[in-house]
Assembly symmetry: C2
Homo-oligomer: 282 residues x 2
């Protein structure tokens, strides 16, 4: 398994994903993390941070569509959106499919991620150069503190809750998020795999519940993430994901490979193993 021509993302028990590196494009230590981009015959461009697959050209749509559309369609008029992380641009690309959005601010801590995405991941980086996008390079936590009562939707598109991204999960961060949301604001965040990261998954919702009146978990199939099943946490004080949902707005979105109107409801029906992990959380 030490063959340098293969990337492997293994779990502790000795199993996981392996991808052949057909052509290495980037392999560098940035100020914050180790970044790799390589090409694979089957998956296209593959983007790795600190040994974890962030996206592949073949399946990135699943993650980006399902992170963005349920929350934006839950909000009656998402004019101003903040994305923390997401330097590859995919979350911006999906956010800016919504004509209601007037301004989408991306706050990414790592300039190198933005630069490498512009050079090697044009299919997501297209979002970075949209006229309604504003790119801010800096710390997301500080950005929230500097922008109270400012956003209709806040999206956290981060790496796993270890290392420098750990601050983007937990009660203290969620209080900052809540303070930066406008009154009817909605928050959404990737919340790991309920199969392989049971404790992390459980704890995120426990912390969300300390700050927001309402929160929900929903899932999507993302083949190149561990277990192939990934979850997202949505939270708000007032708005349910279905309260203001208008199918017409969903139907007007273009180039959807994953999201459908039905999934605005059924993605929230989690398999029992995931439901059980949250059953003790208010």
């Amino acid at each position: 398994m030490s063959d340098p021509q293969w990337f492997s993302e293994l779990r502790k028990g000795g199993f996981g994903l392996t991808i052949r590196k057909d052509k290495v494009l980037v392999d560098k230590q940035t100020k914050y993390q180790h970044m790799e981009i390589f090409e694979n015959e089957g998956l296209g461009r593959v983007f790795i941070l600190d040994g974890c697959v962030m996206l592949t050209e073949q399946d990135e749509y699943s993650y980006h569509e399902m992170l963005v559309h349920p929350a934006l369609l839950a909000h009656p008029n998402p004019e101003k959106v903040l994305i923390i992380g997401g330097g590859d641009g995919g979350t911006l690309r999906e956010t800016l499919k919504h004509p209601e959005v007037q301004e989408a601010i991306l706050c990414e801590i790592d300039q190198d991620v933005i630069d490498a995405s512009r050079e090697f991941l044009p299919f997501t980086a297209v979002g970075l150069d949209h006229p309604k996008a504003k790119i801010f390079v800096g710390d997301g936590i500080q950005f929230l503190k500097d922008h109270e009562d400012s956003f209709d939707v806040i999206i956290v598109d981060s790496t796993d809750p270890v290392g420098f991204a750990e601050g983007l999960f937990g009660e203290s961060f969620y209080r900052d998020v809540k303070a930066s949301l406008r009154e009817d604001g909605i928050f959404v965040q990737q919340t790991e795999s309920p199969l392989f990261d049971k404790n992390v998954y459980h704890n995120i919702y426990k912390e969300l519940g300390k700050v927001f009146k309402k929160h929900w978990s929903y899932g999507a199939v993302i083949p190149m993430y561990p277990s192939g099943y990934w979850t997202f946490g949505m939270a708000s004080n007032d708005i349910d994901p279905w309260l203001h949902y208008e199918q017409e707005r969903a139907d007007s979105l273009e180039d959807l490979n994953y999201y459908t109107s039905q999934l605005q409801y059924s993605a929230f029906d989690m398999p029992n193993f995931a439901k059980m992990l949250l059953q003790d959380i208010k």
Copy 2:
């Protein structure tokens, strides 16, 4: 990637799953296929046929619950059930959770699969020794021809449609299935990954549509199958999956790790990539 201590199931493009073989229990060529069973620290027992993961102790419940329960709960009174394939016993185990079932016949072509499962996969093989189970070793196609108008539900729990299992997919086989079903009978079958086996997936439904008045595709997360997302095809002449559905029957099922009452509906809401593959099929 030729390290003999690791099993790998790779796709043509050079990526896939890899699992460390911590202890090899079975490695033999049967009359029909190559069979391996080994132990992995994280996944428990792992059962391989012809280089493809059939099940792991950790996640086999997803496949077996989702193959069985939607169809059995769709039928108003599934007294007599036929399972073609499924020699490991997991499908029998789930089938026999339904008190309506009076007799469940398993028709498995490979005696070696049954024997090895009894010895090394007790968590699924428990189904083989249930008092309502009858085990028949032989060819499923011939078994259907010998039993017309006999079953309320027929379940095909087979390997992929290549080699000797190919005969379990396609118009001719589906005509035999239909003839063996009682009037209100329901058929269900695993139907591969709509991400990695697009043509196979499409063709199965095209063939089902030639024989059955109604058919549906639904999905489940199965981490150790290619893409982590697997699908199932249900077909009938008269009964919709929801027409006779009684939540009380579902709620009375025990030890469910995956299936929930909500999934009887929402598992049928497929991601757009899968819906699109079937849009031209009646």
